[in-house]
């Protein structure tokens, strides 16, 4: 049964939904201005290829780095690990048995011996068997040993989020569970350029990181990505669209939806500031705080269910710090508090118009 479902995952990868549009021009330009020296050899590629390139670079630049997980050897069900086994050999890029707790536990041990362990969980929906290894082991490894041991070389990659037809078990966004765990970092890229730079940072960061990849964007998001080895800083949010009336905060695939809402709001004369949080823990509160001080309004949007989502944490933190500056209640436009549905996915999702309505009602509060 499980294997059947996973095979279904393979189908997902090759038929990624075409419904969504993504405009990355503006965000890409801002980044490229910051990394102008990289522009010389930039090449247009999708998010999947950007991940693949980051993995190539990681394995190339550190002989003690390893990529492993279910089906990674032949290139992975999403093709993110294509060509790695051929290039670096099956000792460094290999399939594991179908067992998430084993994958993460193995990765912790490998990382604790001074290696860079890049583990793939095939879908974020299947990360839960590894929850204990992540929460009780990886996250506390350094702390509990008094910094004698650490597993900072561990990076867990997992495709997350809606894909148009993934149902309960190929669509979840479990990031909030991991944001409650001191000792790990949680990072989610929004685009190919971001994905490559952030993934390389995560792999080389001396702390264990859970890296969620927006699988809807694997093929859909295409932008100019520098071919060089570059890293983007963790725990630094980015203002990807400047505005003055309301601040919108999001991460990953949801940013493209939010951006469309911002564009539409602009037609109604509402100036939106859009922030990509990128790293969820430890998160960059200052950037969000500074923006809310400027706009006086905040909207947070994520695909995960609204209750207990990371939006709640952002909201609480901003109320604590910007209470007098806020001109309206903080709005959350998120997934519903239901399991992720199949037929009802379009109803479940925090869509552009749901966001647009919330923008308007917040601004007109």
């Amino acid at each position: 049964m499980a294997s059947c479902l996973r095979r279904y995952g393979r189908r997902l990868s090759v038929s990624i939904c075409e419904k969504r549009e993504l405009s990355t021009a503006c965000e890409g330009q801002i980044i490229l201005q910051q990394h102008q020296q990289l522009q010389q050899t930039a090449k247009s590629m999708n998010l999947c290829s950007a991940i693949n390139q980051a993995l190539h670079l990681a394995l190339e630049t550190d002989p003690r780095s390893y990529v492993f997980g279910e089906d990674v050897s032949f290139g992975g069900v999403f093709r993110c690990t294509t060509g790695l086994t051929e290039r670096f050999g099956k000792n460094r890029v290999f399939n594991t048995p179908l067992c998430e707790q084993g994958i993460v536990g193995f990765g912790i041990g490998l990382a604790a011996m001074g290696n860079r362990a890049i583990a793939e969980i095939q879908f974020a929906d299947y990360i839960y068997p590894a929850f204990d290894q992540i929460v009780n082991e990886a996250a506390k490894f350094r702390y509990r040993s008094g910094n004698q041991y650490d597993c900072g070389g561990l990076t867990i990659r997992a495709p997350y989020g809606a894909v148009g037809h993934g149902g309960h078990y190929h669509s979840q966004s479990p990031e909030a569970f991991f944001c409650h765990v001191p000792g790990i970092k949680v990072v989610i890229p929004r685009s190919p350029l971001q994905a490559k730079g952030l993934l390389l940072s995560c792999i080389r960061d001396p702390n264990p990181v859970v890296f969620f990849e927006p699988k809807w964007l694997y093929r859909l998001a295409v932008e100019e990505v520098p071919e060089h080895d570059y890293m983007l800083p963790l725990s630094e949010a980015e203002v990807i669209r400047e505005g003055s009336d309301i601040t919108l905060v999001g991460w990953g695939a949801q940013l493209s939806v939010m951006e469309q809402a911002c564009t539409d709001a602009e037609k109604d004369g509402i100036s939106c500031e859009l922030i990509d949080l990128k790293t969820l823990i430890p998160w960059d509160r200052e950037t969000v705080e500074a923006s809310v001080r400027k706009t006086g309004r905040l909207l947070i949007s994520h695909e995960a269910p609204v209750t207990g989502g990371f939006g709640a944490e952002i909201s609480a933190s901003i109320v604590e710090r910007c209470f007098l500056r806020l001109e309206a209640p903080i709005a959350r436009v998120c997934g519903l508090d239901t399991p992720f549905p199949l037929v009802f996915e379009p109803f479940y999702m925090p869509t552009k118009n749901k966001i647009l309505d919330a923008i308007k009602s917040t601004v007109n509060y």
């Binding site: 204990d132 009780n136 082991e137 509990r144 008094g146 041991y149 000792g183």
Partner: protein, 485 residues
């Protein structure tokens, strides 16, 4: 007839289960001839006691591994036939992984072998070498060191346990009854072998040179504790001694040991990873994950299961229905062996051999050491509430691993009463000094609450530290006064 047979078998089984729970399975009470034959056959194969020692054998009922799942059934004994090729051997299914022979008669594989997997030992309960054993001589120096460390571990347990009872440390957990499994396995390893312990293996650390002061510092959580006072007592760890820091969750270290072993393999090190687990831990998913990964990755790792009969209050009969743990190796494609965990010589020889195989052949080994948790699970437990006192007594006295090894060492002329009393009083003195010193040593500074969560404290932690310090300044009476600011 068939119905009667089935019923009598299930009644017999029921009786045996009930009795073994009570630990008073008595062969003489068997009246059903079928039951009797099971009793005698299983006791002869499962009991480790010596036939010549009648006082022990009448107590053999207390042996905790007395749940019988190995009665002869029609299916039993067909395993070999299933594997052997017969008239149809010429026909086979070419299946991924190799050819599989066809048969046309339906046969289920038995849930167990007719006889339990035997247990390797070299010394009998009286500390005498078994005639015809494949014993390899160990040097006087090694034997005396092993014995001394076993005594040290015993003494450490006694005195730390007392310290906990006096309220000086918050918690403790003894290794009583498992001294041989601890020390002899450690003695068989190399210093470069990486150990990922459960929590009842402080003897391994002791063998590697962790001092009594270091043990005491951890238990008191003072500033000299390598763990900086963050974990409960007995959660030792030492990077310099290649001993990963103990974590409380059960079996989580097992898949990690496979990762560590894989690293040693890739680095072509002349070393293996060694990880310990109890009988209860074998029910955890991580146990199965680890064995399977180790087999598939061909990782040089030794899994040492201390099957001590009890997981807190859960008897092994409520833990699994297999013949213990050793049989699980084959299902994963891992070589395995069952050893008498209370026979220091047998444990030593077994782990030496396991290490040799793990490193030279680059593959995992599973060792099941049959032993017994003579102490309570921890200082938070009273095991007399769930197991008979005579069972504990039997293992504490008749099957005591330290006494057994001492008799052998003495028989070699390497040890005397005088040395014994000198050693015990000297260790006792050292321990009392270590405890006194550890108790007087300052607690770790408050900053250690916030460091090491990440390599550098992120902003939220910096702020929380600042806020906490302000709160402490306002309400110092709310906080322990012995933690330096």
């Amino acid at each position: 007839m068939a119905i009667w047979f089935t019923r009598s078998r299930s009644i017999a089984y029921y009786l045996k289960r009930k009795m073994s729970f009570m630990g008073i399975l008595n062969q003489h009470s068997c009246t059903n001839p079928y039951f009797e034959s099971i009793c005698s056959s299983s006791s002869s194969s499962s009991r480790i006691t010596d036939a010549e020692n009648s006082s022990i054998s009448c107590h053999s009922s207390a042996f905790p591994f007395s749940v019988h799942r190995f009665e002869s059934t029609k299916a039993a004994g067909q395993l070999d036939q299933l594997y052997s090729s017969d008239d149809e051997s010429s026909q086979s299914l070419d299946f991924p992984g190799g050819k599989v022979a066809y048969i046309s008669e339906m046969r289920f594989i038995s849930e167990s072998n007719q006889k339990r997997i035997p247990c390797y030992r070299l010394l009998n309960d009286n500390g005498e070498l078994i005639n015809g054993s494949d014993f390899h001589q160990v040097t006087e120096e090694l034997a005396v060191k092993m014995y001394s460390k076993m005594v040290t571990l015993q003494q450490m347990d006694t005195i730390f346990y007392e310290a906990q009872r006096q309220g000086r440390i918050s918690f403790y957990l003894t290794s009583v009854g498992e001294e041989a499994a601890n020390i002899a396995s450690a003695a068989a390893l190399g210093a470069d072998d990486v150990v990922l312990p459960q929590y009842r293996e402080p003897g391994v650390l002791l063998w590697r040179g962790f001092t009594l002061e270091e043990f005491a510092n951890q238990c008191f959580g003072n500033k000299a504790d390598y763990g900086k006072g963050r974990q409960m007592p007995i959660h030792y760890g030492s990077k310099k001694l290649n001993y990963f820091t103990v974590s409380s969750p059960i079996a989580t270290q097992l898949p990690q040991a496979v990762g560590a072993a894989y690293s040693l393999k890739m680095d072509k090190k002349d070393a293996c990873a060694v990880t310990y687990i109890g009988d209860g831990g074998t029910s955890e998913g991580d146990f199965h994950a680890a064995l399977n990964f180790a087999a598939v990755m061909e990782a040089p790792v030794i899994f040492i299961c201390r099957n001590n009969g009890w997981a807190i209050s859960t008897h092994i009969s409520e833990q699994f229905r297999s013949d213990g743990v050793v049989v699980k190796g084959q299902a994963y494609g891992i070589q395995s062996i069952r050893v008498d965990g209370n026979d220091a010589l047998a444990v030593y020889r077994t782990i030496r051999a396991a290490r040799e195989i793990a490193i030279s052949e680059q593959k995992p080994i599973l060792v099941e050491a049959l032993t017994y948790r003579v102490g309570h699970h921890s200082t938070s437990d009273d095991s007399t509430k769930y197991r008979p006192v005579d069972e504990i007594e039997y293992w504490k006295m008749a099957r005591n691993p330290v006494n057994r090894f001492r008799k052998w060492v003495e028989r070699n002329g390497w040890w005397s009463d005088k040395e014994e009393s000198e050693l015990r009083s000297s260790i006792r003195k050292q321990l009392l000094q270590a405890i006194q010193a550890a108790e007087k040593t300052q607690k770790p500074e408050l900053g250690n609450l916030f460091s090491d969560v990440y390599d550098h404290p992120p902003l939220n932690l910096q702020e929380q530290e600042k806020q906490l310090r302000e709160t402490i300044n306002r309400h110092s009476q709310d906080f322990p006064s012995d933690v330096p600011m």
